[in-house]
C-alpha cells in the first residue's frame, strides 16, 4: 500500500518502506498539491502555480510528472492521471495522513474515541509540508499556508481534547500537553494546564521552568495575560515548597520573570567565590560525557566526517562547562573554534550567535571574497559597498569559510550554547552548515535546556532534520552523583557538610555550589530555593556593587563596562571596584573585552540575573529601561543594529512610540539580512506598540510596520490585508500624512499586482514623487491620474499605476476635482485584469466626466476604450453605434491619429458584422493610421482585421495583416499586441496547412512572457494552445 505523509516533511512509503523522494522541491510540492486537493487541475494552472518562468513551464511540468510517476505509479496502477489538458492524482487505495485524519474525525473531534484521537495526534510529525512552503510561488505559498493553518487548528483541537480527557492520569496527558504548548505557544490556558500536570506528576522543577518560560513569552509579547498561568503557578507554590525540602525546586519570585534572560554561560567552578583555598579548576565528574565529546571531535578529524552533537539538561547542570572542555580540547589540537551563544532577548537580532562566533575568528582567516559575502552579518568586512547580497551567498560564504578553516586548521568546532533561544535565521544557517560540511572535519556542538527547547519551533525543525539525516548525536546531562557533588563543593568550601549539600541540591551543580556557599556563613535556616540562596548572597554586597548588578540585570545577560558608564549614574572608579567585587563573588565574570574598553561582563548564570531583576520594583525597572532606551537612542553611532535593543528596553519602559519606531528600524535591518521570520515578528510586535499611540503617529507607524510584515511574509488572506491597508491609507490622508498614505497605496497596489514583491517599491515611490512634486493639490491629482493612464496604456508597472490611481482617487475627493483619467485608467486596469463589466462602467463614467468638462480628447479616449471593449465582447452592433459617435468626435480633433482610428474602429465594427463594403473603408483608415504614425493603434486595427479575415476564410490576407501588426507591435514592445499577433499568425498558418508556421508561432507564444499581457489575451493564447493540443492528440491517435 502506498502511504503519503504530509504532516511534517513529506514522506512516501510503499509497503512500510520509505521511498527516496525526487530532489526537486517543486516536484514534491506538486505531489502534495495534487494529492491534498484531490481533484484534476488544468496544466496551465499547475504551470502558473509552480513554474512562473518564461522558458518552457509546460516542459518543466512534464519533467516533474515523469519523476512523480516513477515514485507513485506501480505496474498496472497509474496514480498520476494526466491528459493534454489536466492532471490529477488517483488516491484510491493510498493512505494519506491528512485525509485519513479527516475521515477518522468526520463526526467531529469530540465524537472520536480517545484511542482514535491518540492515533491522529501521532500522525502530526511536524507542520503541514514542513520546509516546503516555496515562498516565491505566491499561489502555492498561499495555498500551503492556509492548509497549514487549518491543520494546525485541527491539531490543537485534538490535543486540547486529549489533554482534557487524560488529565486524571498526568503521565499520559503530559506528552500531549507539551506538544500543545509547542503547537500553540501563545495559548496561556494550555501552558497553565501543562504547569498543573507537571506538578501533579511530581516534577515541580520542570513546572517552574514552564511557568517562567510562559511568563517571559507573554511579557515579551506585551499581550494581556488572563492571569491563568500565574494562578496555576501560585496554587502549586505551597505544595512545591514542601517538595523543595526533598529536592531542589527552583522557586523564583512570583512576579513574571524578566524577558531579557541570559544564558547559563560561565557556570565554571573556577569563577565561583572561594571563601577558603584556591579556586577549583578541574572538571568534576562528567568523565563519560567528556570522553564522548572528545571522541566525537577526534572522529570528525580522523574520518573527515561532519557530526552534530546536542547536549541537553536542566539549567545549572553544567552544559556550558562541558562545552568549555570541548572548546579547550579543540584549541589544544590547533583546530578552529567558532563559539557563540543564543540569548533569550535577542530574537530580534538575527544570526546573533553566528555574528559573535564569526567575530571571534582572527580577521586574517576570512578571505576578501568571503568577507564581501559575509558583509550583511559583519559590515566591517565589506570591501565593496555596492556588492549584491543574497541569502544564498551569505550561507555559501559561511560554508566556504568553514571549509577553508577545515583545510588549514582542522578540526573545526562550532559550539553554540543555549540554542533553545536560537533565532530562526541562525537555526536555518546552522542546518545548512551542518549539511554542507558532512564530509569535512567539522564538529557542531550544541547545548540546550531540554525544558525550553520545545518552545523553539525553528530549532526543533532543524534538529528533526539533522536526526533524519543521521547527523545528530544526543547527550543528556543528569545530576552529579553524591560523591561528585561532595567533591565539587569540597573544592569550593572544604568545611561544609557534603551530605547536606547533596540532600538539598539533588546533584544540580549550580544549586550545590550556592548551598555550599550559604552554609559557610549560615548554619541553620539555609534558604530552600536557588533564587533565595542567590538573593541572600546579593543582600550582603556593598551598595555600589548592588547598584551595578541591578543596572547590569536591566541591561542584559552581557554588557560592556563602557555602556554601564554611559547609561548609569555610577562613576568610573566606583564602577571598576564594584565589578571587581562582583567578580570575586562569582556573580559576574569578564568574558573577553570584545573590543570594548573596560571589558565585557556576563552574569555567572542567568538565574542570578533573574533574581536581581525580579527584586526591582516595577516603577524602578521601567525607569531604568527608559534611561537605557533613551541613552541608546541618543547614541551618536545609533544604527539599525541596536534598534532591536532599543525596542526591547523601550517596550519594557512602556515607551510605545520609541519601541514601535525601533521595531521599524530593526525590521528593515532583518529584511536586509534575509531574516524574514524575525522581521515579521518585529513588525507584529511593533504593531502592538503602535496600537497604543495616538493618531496620526499610530497610523503612520502601522503603515510602515505593515509594509515590513508583508515584505517578510505574504499575507494569506489578501482581501482582508488589502482592506486593512486601504483603511490605514485613508486615515493617513485624513491626517494630512501624504507620504504615508502614498506608502499605503503602494503596498495595496502591490498586493493586487506584484503579489508581494516589494523590492522596487522605493523606485516606484520616487516616480510618484516626480509626478506630484511642486504642484498644488488639484494639479497633483491630475498629474498622478495621467501618469497612471500612461502606464496603463503601455502595460508597464501596472501595480504602480493602480497605486497612483488609488492615491489620486482619494485625494480628488478632498481637492474637489475628478479628472477623467482616473476612471479611464482604472477601466483599463480592470480590463487588463479580465473584469469587462467593471471596466465598461468606468469607461462610461469617464465619458460622462469628460463631457461635463468639455474635454474632447478625454471623451474620445473613454469612448474609444468602450468601442474596443464591445469589439472584444463581440457585441458588434453596439460597437458600430458607438464608433459612429467616435468618428464625429475624432473629426473635431484636428491633429493626431484620432480621426483615422475612429474610422478604423467603425470600419472594423461593420466588417465584423459581415458588411463587405466596410473593407474598403478599413483599408483607407489603416493607410491614414500609418501616415499619422500611430503604431499601437495600427497594430490593434491590423490584428482585429486579421481575426475577421480569418473568420471570413481569407487566411492569406489575415497572415499579411498579422505579420505587419507583429512588426509594428514589436517596435513598440507591447506585450499584449505581440501575443495577439502571434495568435492570429498561428491561426492563419493553421488555415493554410502550414504546420511549420503554426509551430513557430506557438513556440514564440510559449517563450513569450505572458506575465505582462492582458487577461483576455492570455485566454486567447490558452485557447489556441489547448486547441493545438487536441489536434495533436487526434493526429497521434490516428497515427497509432
Amino acid at each position: 500500500m502506498l502511504t503519503l505523509r504530509f504532516l511534517g516533511e513529506i514522506e512516501v512509503a510503499r509497503g512500510g518502506e520509505g521511498l527516496v523522494l525526487p530532489p526537486s522541491k517543486k516536484t514534491r510540492a506538486l505531489l502534495a498539491y495534487l494529492v491534498v486537493t484531490g481533484r484534476p487541475h488544468r496544466r496551465e494552472r499547475l504551470c502558473s502555480l509552480l513554474w512562473d518562468i518564461p522558458d518552457d513551464p509546460r516542459g518543466a511540468l512534464r519533467w516533474s510528472l515523469s519523476k512523480l510517476r516513477a515514485l507513485v505509479d506501480e505496474p498496472g496502477e497509474h496514480r498520476i492521471v494526466a491528459d493534454r489538458e489536466t492532471v490529477a492524482f488517483d488516491g484510491a487505495e493510498a493512505h494519506v495522513d491528512l485525509l485519513a485524519i479527516g475521515t477518522q474525525l468526520a463526526e467531529g473531534v469530540e465524537a472520536a474515541s480517545t484511542q482514535e484521537l491518540e492515533e491522529s495526534a501521532r500522525a502530526f510529525r511536524g507542520e503541514f509540508l514542513e520546509g516546503l512552503e516555496l515562498t516565491h510561488f505566491h499561489d502555492f505559498y498561499a495555498w500551503c499556508v492556509a492548509e497549514r493553518e487549518e491543520a494546525r487548528i485541527l491539531h490543537v483541537k485534538i490535543l486540547d481534547t486529549l489533554v482534557e480527557r487524560l488529565s486524571p492520569q498526568p503521565e499520559d496527558a503530559l506528552p500531549h500537553a507539551r506538544t500543545l504548548v509547542h503547537v500553540d505557544p501563545f495559548n496561556e490556558s494550555a501552558r497553565a494546564t501543562l504547569v498543573r500536570l507537571l506538578a501533579a506528576a511530581g516534577r515541580p522543577r520542570e513546572a517552574e521552568q514552564q511557568y517562567q518560560a510562559g511568563s517571559r513569552l507573554f511579557e515579551e509579547l506585551g499581550s494581556e495575560s488572563s492571569g491563568e498561568l500565574l494562578d496555576a503557578w501560585q496554587s502549586l507554590r505551597e505544595p512545591s515548597a514542601t517538595a523543595s525540602r526533598r529536592g531542589p525546586a527552583v522557586t523564583a519570585a512570583a512576579a513574571p520573570m524578566a524577558p531579557h534572560a541570559p544564558g547559563d554561560a560561565g557556570l565554571e567552578p573556577d569563577r565561583l567565590d572561594a571563601p577558603a583555598g584556591a579556586p577549583p579548576t578541574a572538571l568534576v565528574g562528567r568523565h563519560a560525557e567528556r570522553a564522548r565529546l572528545i571522541a566525537a571531535l577526534s572522529e570528525a578529524e580522523a574520518r573527515r566526517r561532519g557530526r552534530v552533537i546536542l547536549l541537553t539538561g536542566e539549567p545549572g547542570v553544567g552544559k556550558t562547562r562541558l562545552l568549555a572542555e570541548l572548546i579547550a580540547a579543540a584549541r589544544q589540537r590547533g583546530g578552529t573554534v567558532l563559539d557563540g551563544c543564543a540569548y533569550e532577548a535577542e530574537s530580534g537580532r538575527p544570526y546573533g550567535p553566528w555574528i559573535d562566533a564569526l567575530r571571534r575568528l582572527p580577521p586574517v582567516s576570512v578571505g576578501e571574497t568571503i568577507g564581501t559575502d559575509l558583509a550583511p552579518l559583519l559590515p566591517e568586512l565589506a570591501k565593496e559597498t555596492k556588492a549584491q547580497h543574497s541569502r544564498d551567498r551569505l550561507f555559501g560564504a559561511v560554508v566556504d569559510l568553514i571549509a577553508a578553516r577545515a583545510h588549514s586548521a582542522a578540526p573545526v568546532l562550532l559550539a553554540l550554547d543555549d540554542v533553545q533561544w536560537c533565532d530562526d535565521a541562525s537555526a536555518e544557517l546552522l542546518h545548512y552548515v551542518a549539511r554542507m560540511n558532512r564530509h569535512r572535519p567539522v564538529l557542531v556542538a550544541l547545548a540546550a535546556r531540554d525544558g525550553e527547547l520545545p518552545d523553539n519551533a525553528p530549532m526543533l525543525r532543524v534538529l528533526r532534520g539533522l536526526r533524519r539525516d543521521r547527523l545528530l548525536d544526543e547527550l543528556s546531562l543528569g545530576p552529579l552523583s553524591r560523591d561528585e557533588t561532595e567533591q565539587l563543593v569540597q573544592e569550593v568550601a572544604p568545611n561544609v557538610d557534603g551530605d547536606r549539600v547533596f540532600a538539598e541540591s539533588a546533584g544540580n551543580p549550580l544549586f550545590a555550589l550556592e548551598v555550599a556557599r550559604s552554609l559557610t556563613y549560615r548554619h541553620d535556616d539555609v534558604p530552600q530555593t536557588l533564587s533565595e540562596l542567590v538573593r541572600d548572597r546579593i543582600d550582603r554586597l556593598p551598595p555600589t556593587a548592588g547598584d551595578v548588578l541591578r543596572w547590569g540585570a536591566v541591561l542584559g545577560q552581557t554588557f560592556s563596562a563602557r555602556r554601564l558608564t554611559e547609561m548609569t549614574p555610577i562613576d568610573l572608579d566606583g564602577l571598576m571596584s564594584a565589578l571587581e567585587t562582583l567578580e570575586r563573588h562569582a556573580l559576574l565574570s569578564e568574558v573577553g573585552n570584545g573590543g570594548e574598553p573596560g571589558g565585557t561582563y556576563a552574569f555567572a548564570h542567568d538565574l542570578v540575573r533573574r533574581v536581581v531583576y525580579a527584586e526591582l520594583s516595577e516603577p524602578r525597572r521601567r525607569l531604568m529601561h527608559w534611561r537605557i532606551a533613551k541613552a541608546l537612542h541618543d547614541l551618536e553611532d545609533a544604527d539599525e543594529d541596536i534598534a532591536a535593543d532599543i525596542a526591547h528596553h523601550a517596550a519594557l519602559a512602556g515607551e510605545a512610540s520609541m519601541a514601535a519606531r525601533a521595531c521599524v528600524s530593526a525590521g528593515h535591518r532583518c529584511l536586509r539580512v534575509f531574516a524574514n521570520t524575525e522581521a515579521y515578528a518585529l513588525a507584529r510586535r511593533g504593531m502592538r506598540y503602535a496600537e497604543q499611540l495616538c493618531e496620526p503617529e499610530r497610523v503612520k507607524l502601522l503603515l510602515e510596520l505593515t509594509q515590513i510584515s508583508f515584505a517578510a511574509r505574504r499575507p494569506p488572506r489578501l482581501g482582508e490585508a488589502a482592506r486593512t491597508i486601504e483603511d490605514l491609507a485613508e486615515r493617513a490622508l485624513d491626517h494630512g500624512c501624504l507620504e504615508h498614505a502614498r506608502l499605503g497605496f503602494h503596498v495595496l497596489s502591490y498586493l493586487r499586482w506584484e503579489r508581494g514583491d516589494w523590492s522596487d517599491a522605493q523606485r516606484h515611490t520616487m516616480r510618484a514623487e516626480l509626478v506630484s512634486r511642486s504642484a498644488d493639490e488639484k494639479e497633483q491629482v491630475v498629474a498622478m491620474a495621467e501618469a497612471a493612464r500612461c502606464l496603463a496604456v503601455l502595460e508597464r508597472d501596472l501595480g504602480q499605476a493602480e497605486a497612483l490611481l488609488l492615491e489620486a482617487g482619494a485625494l480628488s475627493e478632498r481637492a474637489g476635482v475628478e479628472p477623467v483619467a482616473i476612471p479611464d485608467a482604472m477601466g483599463m486596469l480592470r480590463l487588463h485584469q479580465g473584469q469587462p463589466e467593471e471596466a465598461a462602467e468606468l469607461f462610461q463614467h469617464a465619458r460622462t466626466l469628460a463631457r461635463r468638462d468639455g474635454d474632447r480628447m478625454g471623451e474620445f479616449q473613454a469612448l474609444e476604450h468602450l468601442v474596443m471593449l464591445e469589439l472584444q465582447r463581440e457585441r458588434c452592433a453596439d460597437a458600430c453605434a458607438l464608433s459612429e459617435e467616435l468618428v464625429t468626435i475624432g473629426d473635431k480633433l484636428r491633429e493626431g491619429s484620432e480621426a483615422p482610428f475612429a474610422r478604423a474602429l467603425s470600419a472594423l465594427s461593420h466588417y465584423a458584422m459581415g458588411e463587405e463594403e466596410a473593407r474598403a473603408n478599413l483599408e483607407q483608415a489603416l493607410e491614414a493610421l500609418e501616415h499619422a504614425d500611430a503604431k499601437h493603434r495600427l497594430a490593434y486595427a491590423l490584428t482585429r482585421a486579421a481575426d475577421i479575415d480569418l473568420r471570413r476564410g481569407n487566411a492569406e490576407l489575415a497572415r499579411t495583416r498579422a505579420a505587419e501588426a507583429l512588426d509594428v507591435a514589436g517596435l513598440l514592445g507591447r506585450p499584449s499586441e505581440i501575443a495577439l499577433a502571434h495568435v492570429a499568425l498561428a491561426r492563419a498558418a493553421s488555415a493554410l496547412s502550414d504546420h511549420e508556421g503554426v509551430k513557430r508561432h506557438l513556440d514564440e507564444l510559449g517563450h513569450e512572457r505572458l506575465g505582462g499581457v492582458s487577461a483576455h489575451v492570455r485566454r486567447a493564447v490558452e485557447t489556441l494552445l489547448a486547441e493545438d493540443g487536441a489536434v495533436r492528440s487526434k493526429r497521434e491517435v490516428r497515427g497509432a
Binding site: 511642486s774 502606464l791 496604456v793 491633429e895 493626431g896 500611430a934 503604431k935 517596435l971 513598440l972 514592445g973
Partner: protein, 85 residues
C-alpha cells in the same frame, strides 16, 4: 527609431526655461515611451518652437506631450536629408 518633429505655437511669448522645466518634470514619461529628446529650435519672438525627438512613433510623442501638458500644433515623423559635400 523615427525622428519625430513637434511644432509648437504660443499665444504669448514664453520663457524657454519654463517650457524646459515642464518637460523635465515628465522626463520619466518620455523614458517610458522610449523617447529621446534631440534638439529644439526656438524662434526669436519666443512664440514658436520646433522640437525634434527620437521615438518609436509619432503617436508616442503625442501621448507624452499631452501627458506633460505641452501644447503642440502638429507632430510628424520625418526623414533627415543632409546636404551632400
Amino acid at each position: 527609431m523615427e525622428h519625430v518633429v513637434v511644432e509648437r505655437v504660443f499665444d504669448e511669448p514664453v520663457d524657454f526655461d519654463e517650457v524646459q522645466a515642464l518637460e523635465d518634470r515628465n522626463a520619466w514619461c518620455l523614458e517610458l515611451h522610449r523617447i529621446r529628446f534631440l534638439r529644439t529650435y526656438f524662434s526669436s519672438d519666443r512664440r514658436r518652437m520646433i522640437c525634434v525627438y527620437e521615438a518609436p512613433d509619432a503617436e508616442s510623442v503625442r501621448l507624452a506631450n499631452r501627458q506633460a501638458g505641452m501644447p503642440f500644433e502638429r507632430v510628424w515623423t520625418a526623414s533627415i536629408h543632409e546636404p551632400s559635400e
